[in-house]
Symmetry: C2
Subunit: 337 residues, 2 copies
Amino acid sequence: MLDERKLAVLRAIVEDYVSTNEPVGSKALADKHNLGVSPATIRNDMAALEEQGYIHQPHTSAGRVPTDKGYRLFVDRLSHIKPLSAAERRAIETFLAGAVDLDEIVMRTVRLLAQLTRQVAVVQYPSLTRSTVRHVEIVPVAERRVMLVLITNTGRVEQRVIELPDPVADDRIAHLRAVLNSCLDGCGLSDVPETVAELPDRLPIEDRPVAATILSVLLETLVERHEEKIVFAGAANLAAADFSVGLRAVLEALEEQVVLMRLLGETGDLPGLTVRIGSENPYTGLRGTSIVAAGYGAGDKELARLGVLGPTRMDYPVTMGAVRAVARYVGQILAGS
Amino acid sequence: MLDERKLAVLRAIVEDYVSTNEPVGSKALADKHNLGVSPATIRNDMAALEEQGYIHQPHTSAGRVPTDKGYRLFVDRLSHIKPLSAAERRAIETFLAGAVDLDEIVMRTVRLLAQLTRQVAVVQYPSLTRSTVRHVEIVPVAERRVMLVLITNTGRVEQRVIELPDPVADDRIAHLRAVLNSCLDGCGLSDVPETVAELPDRLPIEDRPVAATILSVLLETLVERHEEKIVFAGAANLAAADFSVGLRAVLEALEEQVVLMRLLGETGDLPGLTVRIGSENPYTGLRGTSIVAAGYGAGDKELARLGVLGPTRMDYPVTMGAVRAVARYVGQILAGS
DNA sequence: TCTGGCACTCCGTGTTCCCGAGTGCCAAGT
DNA sequence: ACTTGGCACTCGGGAACACGGAGTGCCAGA
């Protein structure tokens, strides 16, 4: 059905189209890629490829353009992820190593990825769920208001202002903080609800309402915020790509955390590296865009995901290489800090 | 030189051009705005206005378009800031009131402003310089590593990881924290350097190297980070505006914190409300864009700035009204929290 | 100082035409 | 059974051209 040569033709079409952004014809193929056959033969193969939906011609008497299905086949079977050059790897390493806290790691990562791929990069903050409690701090801010700060072992800091039902003396707060920390130190975040469930019962009765309020906010923070933060960079690259159509839709999607979430989140077939091509992704408006995403984390736990978003006609091997590499390096940085 | 009627003509041109986005001719003006004179008279006035550089015609036999100088005159003398409707004000209030911490206040503000003006909104995080220390926390993270968390009265939380020269026992850290807090509680951030200058001398000699390290990072945090964080939203609105030319440049500027900083930062003539029109702003590439910015803060201290960025042909009265209103409401929220 | 009239200038649009790239098909060659 | 060269056909897109209309500048008269 699809012999070796037809696949070679498809590969050539994808590569040519990606680099020139123009429909590619049989003659050009025969010239540039030495396939060893004449244009006429290639035309026959192209007809077959089109028949099966891998390529498509915009109009009669134009060259062929890969379809989403064509790119899919290319990514799955016809290409190899292209590793970064040594220079690029060094650049990544030094650039990421300079970060002083989690915010900066994420910020640098997303910029790096955007620059490396010349596309829009998206990075999700490391999930809280897999990390553990390093410290809980309760800071009085006003008579009936405290600030709750939660510090995790991945360096993430969550903060919430809490209104208390009654005024509370500072030493009561201090005591509560001490108790909380002794309970929770090193506790996995997913175990927190269970761990604190019985806590109020062990406190003096007058402290219980306050403790309950604080704990409920703590739990809320864990579930609500746990992985909703996403940042992106490189929007300017959209303008460079010939995105003229649908640019608006893409920008809108980028500002919708929820949409981004889903795009990054749903995991794919290749281990660790997800590629979603054009219409494969669930959002109209992102018809013309592909997403290359990967999980990252400290050690082997996947904490969150990152990736890039670009036109379907992107250079998949290079992009996949960059995403994979950055994911790995971020993982290393997180593990080492 | 510019009598009353010529000014009225200019105003009419600006208003028409803003709403139609097409060069406006003498006939249209005479029809829509009842200026009480004939098209021919208007033509004479237009010739005078063009002579003095307030308007400009793209080509012979096209209508007129305001120049930057024309918009400037319009903003300074011909228009009145348009207050928001009651409904809009209520919407702002309820939307902002739901925020739980500073991050969320800023996030909501920027989105709100983008939606209200249908342009790109930019918000700078409240400056640290005018706020005071609420609490300093030092959390051991590893044997020779601690995390420094600084909480201010504006609800901002700054965090840094610090590598210590030597391992330090937890109780030494606790002591240092207590000393720090007793010194710094309520201290204005700009006074911190002075306040801590003598601190190491009052500590046991063995704690001094550690204290010095921590203090140097603390000071660094204050000066380096003090107001560099800026967020934006509403980039999708750029695509809707007919920004086709230069869109790339605008997106690039948006991702350059430094550029944004300067655009927002340089203060203007009107009290509190800065308008920079087209070529008035210092960056090529932002030729076709105007910036409307205002300071905001709790009470009367200006903590930071916010604003919107849009095509020069924006609706200045409405935009200025929205920016001013949002700045005020954010100030109220900050003061009240 | 304003107004109506008039000639003039271009822009943008629609039409037509033509070239060239690329195809599909067929018959002949290996 | 493939592959190949030849050939007629199809469109897209650019160049040339005409033309209507919106808008102007200027002038003479009120």
